[in-house]
Symmetry: C2
Subunit: 243 residues, 2 copies
């Protein structure tokens, strides 16, 4: 088994998704929010690229059980029910609901990875559960850092490095150059929270008043939920192979 890391988005034709389990990492905050929503009982999270697409899609559903969630510039989209803070996605709010969800970087990365054999959503919150699931799926693993503005984001690379380190502890895998680099980046920080505070995006979120989101997203393994993409919707993966 091979493990590779896409440190920043690139044109999809450069990367092959065939026969791979892709784990999309947008730790601040789309991944952390999607995981929290499913952990707290949301029926599904449907990633879409734009706020307009979200509104259109909601109108096609039984709208009583649909919530609109997401951000632009880190802040809740006007007219949406929820922003991109995992703290908003409480059980009493999301249980049984479908969340139509759009963020600046994360949902783009998810849509780009649509051709993967298996597409999972990972963050510190569910790291151990995702690693177990990815090993069970028994395909080459590609950790896809959503990054920021189509570029590199330090916090996602550090999180990918933590995933690589966890996989290496549990299985015999061959690391790519970028997987080694991600581990080196992760190992440079004393804590996940420190990696957030060193990153441009983490600093921005703190300035916007989202310090509690940073603390939450820095927590290891508080969730069992492993979001997996089935027909364009993110749902809880079964413990057995979904396909």
């Amino acid at each position: 088994m091979n493990i590779d890391v896409k440190l920043a988005p690139q044109s999809p034709e450069v990367w092959g998704y065939k026969d791979k389990t892709v784990v999309v990492i947008d730790v601040l905050r789309a991944s952390s929010t999607i995981i929290t929503a499913l952990e707290n009982g949301a029926r599904a999270v449907v990633p879409v690229l734009t706020p307009d697409e979200a509104v259109t899609l909601k109108s096609r559903y039984d709208s009583e059980n649909v919530l609109l969630g997401g951000e632009r510039g880190g802040l809740k989209v006007q007219g949406f029910d929820l922003g991109n803070s995992p703290l908003e996605y409480k059980k009493e709010v999301v249980e049984g609901k479908t969340i139509v969800f759009t963020t600046t970087n994360g949902t783009n990365a998810i849509r780009q990875s649509g051709s993967a054999d298996n597409l999972l959503i990972g963050a510190y919150l569910n790291l151990e559960a995702v690693v177990k699931k990815a090993l069970e799926l028994d395909k080459d693993i590609l950790l896809f850092c959503a990054g920021r503005q189509n570029g590199f984001a330090l916090e996602d690379a550090a999180c990918a490095g933590a995933f690589c380190a966890a996989v290496l502890r549990m299985a015999q895998v061959k690391e790519s150059d970028s997987a080694k680099a991600a581990r080196m980046i992760a190992a440079s920080f004393d804590s996940t929270f420190a990696s957030f505070m060193a990153s441009e995006h983490g600093q921005l979120l703190e300035r916007l008043g989202f310090s509690d989101d940073l603390k939450l997203a820095a927590t290891f393994n508080s969730c069992k939920a492993v979001p997996i993409s089935i027909n364009g919707q993110l749902v809880l993966s079964n413990t057995k192979k979904p396909r």
Copy 2:
């Protein structure tokens, strides 16, 4: 002044080159070879994308003073005068000559960066000289890792990190997330040679018998040459501003 690192090639529209000094790093081996050629008296190195383009271009020059150089798959292109080993570019071979040069990754990165205000070629061999030149040019600095097969290459990222560390020692600059990451990668190795031996490309070159190239390319500051692109040709930069 800002310093940023492009850890792997991306579509040029994602990155802005305006008002920037771009330093292309393909430490194994295109950058190291171009620097060595100019250090040893070559008149110019003309980067082209394909062997066919190289042959066509040579036919337009006074061909007596033109050499064809470059590689595909790490090996000299059939019919070319020189490969991509810096050790071939000795004074007695290259002095006064124009080298039309094509490599798999490096020349592609150079051509992609054509719209930069200043385009320099950097490697360990001329690190200090390039840093001084870049600071003298007084623009934001973008270190562009040529990478491998349009992806990430550990040895280039580590070299970019060494550049970032050197710039930080000499000037007040604002680092991007990727510049911090590159420094972390560089700091993870005991030596430049160790970074080569950890990389897929370095391991390939060793298997191909180019161990002496690796030793040479791992050497700091043995060259004063700072290649700069002027009208599509790489020539020795003056000590004063070229524009």
